[in-house]
């Protein structure tokens, strides 16, 4: 199992990432993906994301290893964008390849729950009345608790 982890300012192309995951091995039968989009329903103009270079990549890699130990996987791709992202922009991609669709779905959801709660990212929201740092949310923590 290979894991590709990228923290980047630029956008990503889901089709290309799926092709990269499935092009390698003949037995890949399933790719589950999750694409997060910056939601604009609440007057939000943009998010600015900050991360801890080095630690973020290491922690994501550790969770990819954990996913690989729990489920039968062929490949994992995690791309997380940082910097300023306007509403509607793609912000995160998790793509998991497996020969079993249940494993692909479970690992993808596990990694998303981790990324949305415990990964070393900090978000600043930009609205008409200014910017503020987002506080950690409890509901997301509960989602991640499921996997303990």
């Amino acid at each position: 199992m290979t894991a590709r982890i990228s923290i980047q300012t630029g956008d990503f192309d889901v089709s290309r990432e799926i092709a990269a995951l499935t092009g390698v091995q003949a037995h890949v039968g399933a790719v589950a993906t999750f694409t997060g989009i910056v939601r604009g329903d609440d007057g939000l103009i943009a998010l600015t994301l900050e991360h801890y270079p080095g630690m973020t990549e290491r922690e994501i890699a550790r969770h990819a290893d954990e996913a690989n130990a729990r489920w039968k996987l062929d490949g994992i791709t995690v791309i997380h964008r940082i910097g300023r992202l306007e509403t509607g922009a793609q912000i995160v991609l998790v793509a998991v390849a497996s020969s079993h669709r249940g494993d692909a779905f479970a690992a993808c959801e596990f990694l998303m729950d981790y990324l949305k709660t415990r990964a070393p990212f900090w978000k600043q929201e930009e609205r008409a009345d200014g910017t503020h740092w987002v506080e950690a949310r409890e509901s997301d923590d509960r989602a991640a608790e499921r996997w303990r």
């Binding site: 900050e50 801890y52 080095g54 630690m55 912000i91 709660t117 415990r118 070393p120 900090w122 740092w133």
Partner: protein, 83 residues
């Protein structure tokens, strides 16, 4: 010692990174926080409420009772909000 600050801690302290020669009598993160509070009002204000602050030593999340050495990379940041 390399000190890193993220998010609003970075903004309030006014820098993202600094080098510190760790005074020999400081052996834990809690003592380091106390020491930094004495380095000016920016530090004192930012580090006043440790319930709002998390830390990592050498890129691993740790508690404030953790032992530290002069060669460590120490980071202070708010609770992570995820991506």
């Amino acid at each position: 010692m390399t000190l890193l600050y993220f998010a609003w801690l970075r903004q309030k302290i006014g820098k993202s990174e600094e080098q510190l020669e760790l005074p020999p009598h400081i052996t834990t993160l809690a003592e380091l926080v106390e020491y930094l509070r004495g380095q000016g009002s920016g530090y004192a204000d930012t580090l006043a409420d440790t319930t709002r602050i998390r830390a990592a030593v050498n890129q691993t999340h740790v508690g404030l009772d953790t032992a530290i050495r002069n060669t460590d990379e120490v980071a202070f940041f708010p609770p992570v909000t995820g991506g």
